[in-house]
Protein backbone atom coordinates (compact mmCIF):
# COMPACT_ATOMS: atom_id res chain seq x y z
CA UNK A 1 0.00 0.00 0.00
CA UNK A 2 2.82 2.36 0.89
CA UNK A 3 4.46 1.97 -2.51
CA UNK A 4 1.07 2.62 -4.15
CA UNK A 5 0.76 5.85 -2.16
CA UNK A 6 4.24 6.83 -3.35
CA UNK A 7 3.34 5.94 -6.94
CA UNK A 8 0.17 8.07 -6.65
CA UNK A 9 2.25 11.14 -5.76
CA UNK A 10 4.89 10.47 -8.43
CA UNK A 11 2.08 10.04 -10.97
CA UNK A 12 0.98 13.57 -10.14
CA UNK A 13 4.55 14.84 -10.55
CA UNK A 14 5.02 13.30 -13.99
CA UNK A 15 1.46 14.00 -15.12
CA UNK A 16 2.15 17.71 -14.62
CA UNK A 17 5.40 17.67 -16.64
CA UNK A 18 4.23 19.52 -19.71
CA UNK A 19 7.45 18.81 -21.63
CA UNK A 20 6.75 15.09 -21.40
CA UNK A 21 3.36 15.45 -23.09
CA UNK A 22 4.66 17.94 -25.64
CA UNK A 23 7.31 15.41 -26.69
CA UNK A 24 5.30 12.21 -26.50
CA UNK A 25 1.84 13.06 -27.89
CA UNK A 26 3.09 14.22 -31.33
CA UNK A 27 5.30 11.13 -31.53
CA UNK A 28 2.34 8.91 -30.63
CA UNK A 29 0.17 10.61 -33.26
CA UNK A 30 2.96 10.24 -35.83
CA UNK A 31 3.26 6.56 -34.91
CA UNK A 32 -0.52 6.15 -35.35
CA UNK A 33 -0.31 7.82 -38.74
CA UNK A 34 2.49 5.46 -39.79
CA UNK A 35 0.64 2.47 -38.39
CA UNK A 36 -2.30 3.38 -40.60
CA UNK A 37 -0.58 4.72 -43.71
CA UNK A 38 2.55 2.58 -43.95
CA UNK A 39 2.68 0.06 -46.83
CA UNK A 40 3.22 -2.64 -44.18
CA UNK A 41 0.07 -1.62 -42.29
CA UNK A 42 -2.67 -4.22 -41.92
CA UNK A 43 -5.06 -1.31 -41.15
CA UNK A 44 -6.93 -0.67 -37.89
CA UNK A 45 -9.75 -3.14 -38.41
CA UNK A 46 -8.24 -6.42 -37.20
CA UNK A 47 -6.00 -7.95 -34.52
CA UNK A 48 -2.94 -7.70 -36.82
CA UNK A 49 -3.55 -3.96 -37.00
CA UNK A 50 -3.70 -3.66 -33.22
CA UNK A 51 -0.43 -5.54 -32.77
CA UNK A 52 1.28 -3.60 -35.55
CA UNK A 53 0.06 -0.30 -34.07
CA UNK A 54 1.39 -1.39 -30.66
CA UNK A 55 4.77 -2.14 -32.22
CA UNK A 56 4.97 1.18 -34.07
CA UNK A 57 4.03 3.01 -30.87
CA UNK A 58 6.70 0.97 -29.06
CA UNK A 59 9.27 2.11 -31.62
CA UNK A 60 8.48 5.85 -31.72
CA UNK A 61 7.16 7.04 -28.36
CA UNK A 62 10.24 5.80 -26.42
CA UNK A 63 12.27 8.39 -28.33
CA UNK A 64 10.54 11.03 -26.19
CA UNK A 65 11.06 9.05 -23.00
CA UNK A 66 14.74 8.42 -23.78
CA UNK A 67 15.13 12.19 -23.99
CA UNK A 68 13.00 12.97 -20.93
CA UNK A 69 14.24 10.77 -18.11
CA UNK A 70 17.99 11.36 -17.96
CA UNK A 71 17.49 13.08 -14.63
CA UNK A 72 15.23 10.39 -13.17
CA UNK A 73 17.88 9.23 -10.67
CA UNK A 74 19.85 12.45 -10.40
CA UNK A 75 17.39 15.36 -10.25
CA UNK A 76 17.17 14.89 -6.50
CA UNK A 77 20.88 15.66 -6.13
CA UNK A 78 20.37 19.08 -7.66
CA UNK A 79 17.25 19.90 -5.67
CA UNK A 80 18.26 18.40 -2.31
CA UNK A 81 15.34 15.96 -2.49
CA UNK A 82 17.81 13.08 -2.65
CA UNK A 83 19.07 14.03 0.82
CA UNK A 84 15.57 14.30 2.16
CA UNK A 85 14.50 10.97 0.68
CA UNK A 86 17.67 9.37 2.10
CA UNK A 87 16.44 10.22 5.61
CA UNK A 88 13.29 8.15 5.11
CA UNK A 89 13.12 4.78 6.87
CA UNK A 90 11.96 3.39 3.52
CA UNK A 91 14.82 1.96 1.44
CA UNK A 92 15.93 4.28 -1.37
CA UNK A 93 15.34 1.41 -3.84
CA UNK A 94 11.63 1.40 -2.92
CA UNK A 95 11.37 5.18 -3.35
CA UNK A 96 13.11 5.04 -6.72
CA UNK A 97 10.99 2.09 -7.84
CA UNK A 98 7.91 4.16 -7.07
CA UNK A 99 9.32 6.99 -9.18
CA UNK A 100 9.99 4.60 -12.07
CA UNK A 101 6.51 3.08 -11.80
CA UNK A 102 4.92 6.52 -11.73
CA UNK A 103 6.90 7.59 -14.80
CA UNK A 104 6.03 4.35 -16.60
CA UNK A 105 2.29 4.61 -15.94
CA UNK A 106 2.24 8.16 -17.31
CA UNK A 107 4.34 7.18 -20.33
CA UNK A 108 2.22 4.21 -21.30
CA UNK A 109 -1.09 5.98 -20.74
CA UNK A 110 -1.30 7.90 -24.03
CA UNK A 111 -0.29 4.89 -26.19
CA UNK A 112 -2.61 2.63 -24.20
CA UNK A 113 -5.46 5.06 -24.72
CA UNK A 114 -4.93 5.06 -28.50
CA UNK A 115 -4.72 1.26 -28.58
CA UNK A 116 -7.88 0.89 -26.50
CA UNK A 117 -9.75 3.36 -28.72
CA UNK A 118 -8.85 1.28 -31.79
CA UNK A 119 -9.83 -1.87 -29.89
CA UNK A 120 -13.19 -0.39 -28.84
CA UNK A 121 -13.85 0.48 -32.49
CA UNK A 122 -13.05 -3.12 -33.43
CA UNK A 123 -15.20 -4.46 -30.58
CA UNK A 124 -18.16 -2.40 -31.76
CA UNK A 125 -17.66 -3.98 -35.19
CA UNK A 126 -17.76 -7.46 -33.81
CA UNK A 127 -14.21 -8.29 -32.72
CA UNK A 128 -14.91 -9.30 -29.13
CA UNK A 129 -11.26 -10.07 -28.27
CA UNK A 130 -9.91 -6.69 -29.41
CA UNK A 131 -9.84 -4.96 -26.00
CA UNK A 132 -8.09 -7.90 -24.34
CA UNK A 133 -5.55 -8.03 -27.18
CA UNK A 134 -4.93 -4.26 -26.85
CA UNK A 135 -4.23 -4.67 -23.14
CA UNK A 136 -1.97 -7.66 -23.81
CA UNK A 137 -0.05 -5.76 -26.49
CA UNK A 138 0.38 -2.83 -24.10
CA UNK A 139 1.67 -5.17 -21.40
CA UNK A 140 4.08 -7.34 -23.39
CA UNK A 141 5.18 -5.08 -26.27
CA UNK A 142 4.71 -1.45 -25.24
CA UNK A 143 5.49 -1.67 -21.54
CA UNK A 144 8.94 -3.31 -21.82
CA UNK A 145 10.07 -1.00 -24.61
CA UNK A 146 9.04 2.10 -22.65
CA UNK A 147 10.80 0.82 -19.52
CA UNK A 148 13.94 0.04 -21.52
CA UNK A 149 13.99 3.55 -22.98
CA UNK A 150 13.48 5.12 -19.54
CA UNK A 151 16.16 2.81 -18.10
CA UNK A 152 18.71 3.69 -20.79
CA UNK A 153 18.03 7.35 -20.18
CA UNK A 154 18.27 7.00 -16.38
CA UNK A 155 21.50 4.99 -16.52
CA UNK A 156 23.21 7.35 -18.95
CA UNK A 157 21.95 10.29 -16.89
CA UNK A 158 23.54 8.82 -13.77
CA UNK A 159 26.88 8.44 -15.57
CA UNK A 160 27.05 11.47 -17.87
CA UNK A 161 26.03 15.12 -17.90
CA UNK A 162 22.27 15.30 -18.45
CA UNK A 163 22.31 16.91 -21.88
CA UNK A 164 24.86 14.41 -23.21
CA UNK A 165 22.85 11.59 -21.67
CA UNK A 166 19.64 12.79 -23.34
CA UNK A 167 21.23 12.86 -26.80
CA UNK A 168 23.00 9.55 -26.33
CA UNK A 169 19.86 7.85 -24.97
CA UNK A 170 17.89 8.94 -28.05
CA UNK A 171 20.66 7.63 -30.32
CA UNK A 172 20.80 4.31 -28.47
CA UNK A 173 17.03 3.93 -28.74
CA UNK A 174 17.13 4.88 -32.42
CA UNK A 175 19.72 2.14 -32.95
CA UNK A 176 17.64 -0.39 -31.01
CA UNK A 177 14.39 0.43 -32.79
CA UNK A 178 15.27 1.50 -36.29
CA UNK A 179 18.54 -0.16 -37.24
CA UNK A 180 17.64 -2.64 -39.90
CA UNK A 181 19.44 -6.01 -40.24
CA UNK A 182 19.96 -5.13 -43.91
CA UNK A 183 22.70 -2.66 -42.97
CA UNK A 184 26.23 -4.02 -42.42
CA UNK A 185 26.40 -3.18 -38.71
CA UNK A 186 25.31 -5.25 -35.71
CA UNK A 187 21.67 -4.89 -34.64
CA UNK A 188 19.33 -6.74 -32.34
CA UNK A 189 16.47 -6.44 -34.83
CA UNK A 190 15.64 -9.61 -36.70
CA UNK A 191 16.74 -11.75 -33.75
CA UNK A 192 15.13 -12.93 -30.51
CA UNK A 193 16.82 -10.13 -28.58
CA UNK A 194 14.97 -7.33 -30.41
CA UNK A 195 13.33 -4.88 -28.00
CA UNK A 196 10.43 -3.71 -30.19
CA UNK A 197 8.37 -6.84 -29.80
CA UNK A 198 8.91 -8.66 -33.13
CA UNK A 199 9.44 -12.12 -31.53
CA UNK A 200 6.35 -11.60 -29.32
CA UNK A 201 4.22 -10.23 -32.14
CA UNK A 202 4.95 -13.17 -34.44
CA UNK A 203 5.42 -15.87 -31.80
CA UNK A 204 2.37 -15.04 -29.68
CA UNK A 205 0.00 -13.00 -31.88
CA UNK A 206 0.96 -14.62 -35.23
CA UNK A 207 1.41 -11.28 -37.03
CA UNK A 208 4.13 -10.24 -39.45
CA UNK A 209 7.23 -8.80 -37.73
CA UNK A 210 8.46 -5.28 -38.55
CA UNK A 211 11.94 -6.66 -39.34
CA UNK A 212 12.19 -10.04 -41.07
CA UNK A 213 13.63 -12.70 -38.74
CA UNK A 214 17.21 -13.68 -39.57
CA UNK A 215 16.74 -17.41 -38.80
CA UNK A 216 13.21 -18.41 -39.73
CA UNK A 217 9.90 -17.27 -38.22
CA UNK A 218 9.71 -16.48 -34.51
CA UNK A 219 8.02 -19.14 -32.41
CA UNK A 220 6.16 -19.03 -29.10
CA UNK A 221 9.47 -19.85 -27.37
CA UNK A 222 11.18 -16.92 -29.14
CA UNK A 223 8.52 -14.69 -27.61
CA UNK A 224 9.16 -16.08 -24.12
CA UNK A 225 12.93 -15.62 -24.53
CA UNK A 226 12.40 -12.09 -25.85
CA UNK A 227 10.21 -11.08 -22.91
CA UNK A 228 12.58 -12.60 -20.33
CA UNK A 229 15.52 -10.89 -22.04
CA UNK A 230 13.72 -7.54 -21.89
CA UNK A 231 12.88 -8.01 -18.20
CA UNK A 232 16.59 -8.75 -17.56
CA UNK A 233 17.65 -5.63 -19.47
CA UNK A 234 15.15 -3.51 -17.52
CA UNK A 235 16.38 -4.85 -14.18
CA UNK A 236 20.02 -4.35 -15.20
CA UNK A 237 19.43 -0.82 -16.44
CA UNK A 238 17.62 0.37 -13.33
CA UNK A 239 19.95 -1.45 -10.94
CA UNK A 240 22.90 0.10 -12.75
CA UNK A 241 21.32 3.55 -12.65
CA UNK A 242 20.58 3.17 -8.94
CA UNK A 243 24.13 2.00 -8.14
CA UNK A 244 25.73 4.72 -10.27
CA UNK A 245 23.56 7.37 -8.70
CA UNK A 246 24.31 6.16 -5.14
CA UNK A 247 28.02 5.96 -5.91
CA UNK A 248 28.10 9.56 -7.09
CA UNK A 249 26.05 10.69 -4.05
CA UNK A 250 28.49 9.01 -1.66
CA UNK A 251 31.36 10.97 -3.19
CA UNK A 252 29.69 14.36 -2.70
Amino acid sequence: MRILSLVRITLLMFYRRKALWIASIPLALFALFLAYASPMSPGFSNIDGLVFTGQVLAMFTPLAYAASFSDLMTAGRRTGMDELESTSPLPMAVIRSAHVLGAWVICISSSLLFLVLIAVHQAINGNGKAILVALAVALVILAPSILIAIGISALLGALLPTIVARILAVLVWAWLAFYTPLLPLPTLNGGPLAVIGDPIAQGWFHTDPVYAPANGPFTFQSGVISLLWQVCIILLLFTGANIASNHIKARI
Binding site: R2, I9, G80, L84, T87, S88, P89
Partner: protein
Amino acid sequence: MFISIDHLTKDFRGRPAALNDLTVDLPQGMIGLIGPNGAGKTTLMRILTGIIKPTKGKIIIDGQDLSSPANRRNLKRHLGYLPQHITPYENLSPLEFLDYIGILKMIDNKRARQEQAHTLLEQVGLEDVMNQPIGGLSGGMRRRVGIAQALMGDPQLLVVDEPTAGLDPEERMRFRTLLAQLGQDRTVILSTHILDDVAQTCPWVCVLRCGRNLYDGPTEGLIHEAAGHTWVTPPIAAPPENATIINAEPTPQGTRYRIVTDTPPAGSVETEPNLEDGYMALASER
Protein backbone atom coordinates in the same frame (compact mmCIF):
# COMPACT_ATOMS: atom_id res chain seq x y z
CA MET B 1 17.34 12.16 22.87
CA PHE B 2 20.90 12.08 24.16
CA ILE B 3 23.51 12.01 21.41
CA SER B 4 27.03 10.78 22.03
CA ILE B 5 29.53 11.30 19.22
CA ASP B 6 32.69 9.29 19.70
CA HIS B 7 35.94 9.90 17.74
CA LEU B 8 34.03 10.59 14.53
CA THR B 9 36.09 11.03 11.36
CA LYS B 10 34.85 11.55 7.81
CA ASP B 11 37.27 11.61 4.90
CA PHE B 12 36.27 12.52 1.36
CA ARG B 13 38.66 11.36 -1.33
CA GLY B 14 41.23 14.02 -2.23
CA ARG B 15 40.08 16.51 0.39
CA PRO B 16 41.03 17.27 3.99
CA ALA B 17 39.01 15.35 6.60
CA ALA B 18 35.58 16.98 6.93
CA LEU B 19 35.39 15.64 10.49
CA ASN B 20 38.56 14.91 12.38
CA ASP B 21 38.27 12.69 15.47
CA LEU B 22 35.26 14.61 16.73
CA THR B 23 34.03 13.69 20.19
CA VAL B 24 31.08 15.50 21.74
CA ASP B 25 27.99 14.78 23.84
CA LEU B 26 24.77 16.58 22.96
CA PRO B 27 21.94 16.68 25.52
CA GLN B 28 18.19 16.90 24.87
CA GLY B 29 16.86 20.34 23.96
CA MET B 30 17.91 23.02 21.51
CA ILE B 31 21.54 22.77 20.44
CA GLY B 32 23.23 25.38 18.31
CA LEU B 33 25.84 24.08 15.89
CA ILE B 34 28.10 26.88 14.76
CA GLY B 35 31.42 27.30 13.02
CA PRO B 36 32.93 28.84 9.91
CA ASN B 37 32.24 27.51 6.40
CA GLY B 38 33.97 24.15 5.95
CA ALA B 39 33.95 23.43 9.70
CA GLY B 40 32.14 20.12 9.13
CA LYS B 41 28.67 21.11 10.35
CA THR B 42 26.79 19.84 7.30
CA THR B 43 28.86 16.65 7.20
CA LEU B 44 28.06 16.01 10.87
CA MET B 45 24.35 16.54 10.19
CA ARG B 46 24.42 14.26 7.16
CA ILE B 47 26.00 11.52 9.27
CA LEU B 48 23.53 12.10 12.11
CA THR B 49 20.63 11.75 9.69
CA GLY B 50 22.02 8.57 8.13
CA ILE B 51 22.61 10.06 4.68
CA ILE B 52 26.31 9.23 4.71
CA LYS B 53 28.41 6.94 6.87
CA PRO B 54 31.46 8.03 8.87
CA THR B 55 34.93 6.81 7.93
CA LYS B 56 35.69 6.07 11.59
CA GLY B 57 34.06 6.48 14.97
CA LYS B 58 30.48 6.07 16.06
CA ILE B 59 27.34 7.89 17.10
CA ILE B 60 25.12 6.59 19.87
CA ILE B 61 21.63 8.04 20.22
CA ASP B 62 19.72 7.02 23.35
CA GLY B 63 21.95 3.96 23.65
CA GLN B 64 21.45 2.92 19.99
CA ASP B 65 24.62 2.65 17.93
CA LEU B 66 23.96 4.17 14.50
CA SER B 67 26.50 1.90 12.83
CA SER B 68 23.78 -0.76 12.89
CA PRO B 69 21.43 -0.47 9.88
CA ALA B 70 18.45 -1.50 12.03
CA ASN B 71 19.19 1.31 14.52
CA ARG B 72 19.63 3.80 11.67
CA ARG B 73 16.29 2.78 10.22
CA ASN B 74 14.66 3.08 13.63
CA LEU B 75 16.15 6.54 14.16
CA LYS B 76 14.84 7.69 10.78
CA ARG B 77 11.29 7.05 11.99
CA HIS B 78 11.80 9.76 14.61
CA LEU B 79 13.84 12.16 12.53
CA GLY B 80 13.03 15.47 10.87
CA TYR B 81 15.61 17.02 8.57
CA LEU B 82 15.80 20.28 6.73
CA PRO B 83 18.79 20.34 4.35
CA GLN B 84 20.55 23.61 3.62
CA HIS B 85 19.58 23.58 -0.05
CA ILE B 86 16.26 22.07 -0.94
CA THR B 87 13.84 22.68 -3.79
CA PRO B 88 10.71 20.66 -3.11
CA TYR B 89 9.12 19.02 -6.18
CA GLU B 90 7.88 22.09 -8.01
CA ASN B 91 4.82 20.66 -9.67
CA LEU B 92 3.34 19.45 -6.40
CA SER B 93 1.40 21.73 -4.07
CA PRO B 94 2.67 22.18 -0.48
CA LEU B 95 -0.17 19.93 0.70
CA GLU B 96 0.72 17.17 -1.78
CA PHE B 97 4.41 17.53 -0.96
CA LEU B 98 3.81 17.15 2.77
CA ASP B 99 1.61 14.15 2.02
CA TYR B 100 4.55 12.65 0.10
CA ILE B 101 6.90 13.34 3.01
CA GLY B 102 4.36 11.76 5.37
CA ILE B 103 4.39 8.59 3.26
CA LEU B 104 8.21 8.61 3.34
CA LYS B 105 8.00 8.88 7.13
CA MET B 106 5.71 5.85 7.13
CA ILE B 107 2.59 7.63 8.36
CA ASP B 108 0.23 5.16 6.75
CA ASN B 109 -3.07 6.74 7.72
CA LYS B 110 -3.97 9.14 4.92
CA ARG B 111 -6.31 11.23 7.05
CA ALA B 112 -3.63 11.62 9.77
CA ARG B 113 -1.13 12.73 7.12
CA GLN B 114 -3.53 15.26 5.66
CA GLU B 115 -4.44 16.67 9.08
CA GLN B 116 -0.77 17.02 10.06
CA ALA B 117 0.04 18.64 6.73
CA HIS B 118 -2.78 21.18 7.16
CA THR B 119 -1.74 22.02 10.73
CA LEU B 120 1.93 22.44 9.81
CA LEU B 121 1.20 24.58 6.77
CA GLU B 122 -0.94 26.82 8.98
CA GLN B 123 1.89 26.98 11.54
CA VAL B 124 4.32 28.22 8.91
CA GLY B 125 1.77 30.63 7.42
CA LEU B 126 1.12 28.89 4.11
CA GLU B 127 -2.58 28.13 4.56
CA ASP B 128 -3.53 30.41 1.64
CA VAL B 129 -1.22 28.76 -0.87
CA MET B 130 -1.33 25.14 0.26
CA ASN B 131 -2.98 24.01 -3.00
CA GLN B 132 -0.84 26.04 -5.40
CA PRO B 133 2.16 24.52 -7.22
CA ILE B 134 5.38 24.98 -5.22
CA GLY B 135 7.09 26.18 -8.41
CA GLY B 136 4.99 29.35 -8.29
CA LEU B 137 5.85 30.22 -4.68
CA SER B 138 8.49 32.73 -3.57
CA GLY B 139 11.87 31.58 -2.20
CA GLY B 140 10.80 32.33 1.39
CA MET B 141 7.57 30.38 0.97
CA ARG B 142 9.46 27.39 -0.43
CA ARG B 143 11.76 27.58 2.60
CA ARG B 144 8.69 27.44 4.81
CA VAL B 145 7.47 24.37 2.93
CA GLY B 146 10.88 22.87 3.75
CA ILE B 147 10.46 23.74 7.41
CA ALA B 148 6.95 22.24 7.51
CA GLN B 149 8.13 18.99 5.93
CA ALA B 150 10.85 18.62 8.57
CA LEU B 151 8.14 18.66 11.23
CA MET B 152 5.98 15.97 9.61
CA GLY B 153 5.64 12.93 11.85
CA ASP B 154 6.33 14.94 15.05
CA PRO B 155 10.04 13.97 15.06
CA GLN B 156 11.94 13.46 18.31
CA LEU B 157 15.18 14.53 16.66
CA LEU B 158 15.05 17.57 14.44
CA VAL B 159 18.12 18.53 12.41
CA VAL B 160 17.89 21.87 10.63
CA ASP B 161 20.62 23.34 8.45
CA GLU B 162 20.43 27.13 8.01
CA PRO B 163 16.64 27.09 8.44
CA THR B 164 16.14 30.85 8.51
CA ALA B 165 18.25 31.69 5.46
CA GLY B 166 15.99 33.47 2.98
CA LEU B 167 13.23 34.24 5.48
CA ASP B 168 12.10 37.80 6.18
CA PRO B 169 12.62 39.07 9.78
CA GLU B 170 9.02 38.42 10.79
CA GLU B 171 9.13 34.84 9.52
CA ARG B 172 12.53 34.31 11.10
CA MET B 173 11.22 35.25 14.51
CA ARG B 174 8.12 33.14 14.01
CA PHE B 175 10.25 30.11 13.10
CA ARG B 176 12.64 30.80 15.98
CA THR B 177 9.71 30.73 18.40
CA LEU B 178 8.41 27.53 16.83
CA LEU B 179 11.84 25.87 17.17
CA ALA B 180 12.15 26.98 20.80
CA GLN B 181 8.74 25.43 21.54
CA LEU B 182 9.73 22.20 19.81
CA GLY B 183 13.01 22.09 21.71
CA GLN B 184 11.20 21.78 25.04
CA ASP B 185 10.52 18.07 24.67
CA ARG B 186 12.90 16.86 21.96
CA THR B 187 16.37 17.38 20.55
CA VAL B 188 16.76 20.07 17.95
CA ILE B 189 20.11 20.59 16.26
CA LEU B 190 20.22 24.02 14.67
CA SER B 191 23.13 24.79 12.37
CA THR B 192 23.36 28.44 11.47
CA HIS B 193 25.62 31.40 10.85
CA ILE B 194 23.07 33.70 12.50
CA LEU B 195 24.42 33.73 16.05
CA ASP B 196 21.46 35.76 17.24
CA ASP B 197 19.20 32.78 16.44
CA VAL B 198 21.41 30.56 18.61
CA ALA B 199 21.61 33.11 21.42
CA GLN B 200 17.83 33.45 21.49
CA THR B 201 16.89 29.78 21.31
CA CYS B 202 19.74 27.41 22.23
CA PRO B 203 20.80 26.80 25.84
CA TRP B 204 23.56 24.49 24.54
CA VAL B 205 26.06 25.16 21.80
CA CYS B 206 28.74 23.25 19.91
CA VAL B 207 31.43 25.08 17.95
CA LEU B 208 33.26 23.24 15.17
CA ARG B 209 36.34 24.27 13.24
CA CYS B 210 38.23 22.18 10.69
CA GLY B 211 36.18 19.14 11.70
CA ARG B 212 37.15 19.42 15.36
CA ASN B 213 35.24 20.36 18.47
CA LEU B 214 36.29 23.83 19.56
CA TYR B 215 33.69 24.16 22.30
CA ASP B 216 30.64 22.35 23.56
CA GLY B 217 28.65 23.38 26.57
CA PRO B 218 26.14 25.93 27.78
CA THR B 219 25.71 28.97 25.55
CA GLU B 220 26.44 31.14 28.60
CA GLY B 221 29.83 29.45 28.84
CA LEU B 222 30.72 30.47 25.30
CA ILE B 223 29.63 34.04 26.01
CA HIS B 224 31.83 33.93 29.12
CA GLU B 225 34.89 33.28 26.88
CA ALA B 226 34.78 37.00 26.03
CA ALA B 227 34.21 38.27 29.58
CA GLY B 228 36.85 40.85 30.43
CA HIS B 229 37.98 41.04 26.79
CA THR B 230 35.06 42.89 25.17
CA TRP B 231 35.47 46.63 24.73
CA VAL B 232 33.91 49.59 22.98
CA THR B 233 36.48 52.08 21.74
CA PRO B 234 36.01 55.83 21.67
CA PRO B 235 35.50 57.25 18.14
CA ILE B 236 38.83 56.76 16.37
CA ALA B 237 40.15 57.19 12.84
CA ALA B 238 41.70 53.78 12.17
CA PRO B 239 40.67 50.31 13.35
CA PRO B 240 42.63 49.15 16.40
CA GLU B 241 45.42 46.63 15.85
CA ASN B 242 45.68 43.28 17.67
CA ALA B 243 41.93 43.16 18.17
CA THR B 244 39.03 41.21 16.67
CA ILE B 245 36.51 43.73 15.45
CA ILE B 246 32.92 42.68 16.14
CA ASN B 247 31.24 45.73 14.66
CA ALA B 248 31.89 49.33 13.67
CA GLU B 249 29.56 52.28 14.28
CA PRO B 250 30.31 55.45 12.31
CA THR B 251 29.97 58.72 14.29
CA PRO B 252 30.74 62.35 13.29
CA GLN B 253 33.96 62.16 15.35
CA GLY B 254 35.23 58.89 13.87
CA THR B 255 34.28 55.21 14.09
CA ARG B 256 33.38 53.53 17.36
CA TYR B 257 34.49 49.85 17.35
CA ARG B 258 33.27 46.94 19.42
CA ILE B 259 36.32 44.72 19.84
CA VAL B 260 37.55 41.60 21.57
CA THR B 261 41.13 41.99 22.75
CA ASP B 262 43.48 41.83 25.71
CA THR B 263 45.02 45.20 24.83
CA PRO B 264 42.29 47.77 24.18
CA PRO B 265 43.13 51.28 22.91
CA ALA B 266 43.21 54.06 25.48
CA GLY B 267 39.75 55.31 26.44
CA SER B 268 37.99 52.02 25.64
CA VAL B 269 35.16 50.94 27.91
CA GLU B 270 34.70 47.30 28.92
CA THR B 271 31.25 46.01 28.01
CA GLU B 272 29.02 43.02 28.66
CA PRO B 273 29.88 40.30 26.08
CA ASN B 274 27.31 38.58 23.88
CA LEU B 275 27.45 35.30 21.90
CA GLU B 276 29.14 36.92 18.92
CA ASP B 277 31.91 38.25 21.20
CA GLY B 278 32.30 34.85 22.85
CA TYR B 279 32.47 33.06 19.50
CA MET B 280 35.06 35.50 18.13
CA ALA B 281 37.08 35.34 21.35
CA LEU B 282 37.15 31.54 21.11
CA ALA B 283 38.00 31.60 17.41
CA SER B 284 40.81 34.10 17.86
CA GLU B 285 42.47 32.42 20.85
CA ARG B 286 42.72 28.93 19.24
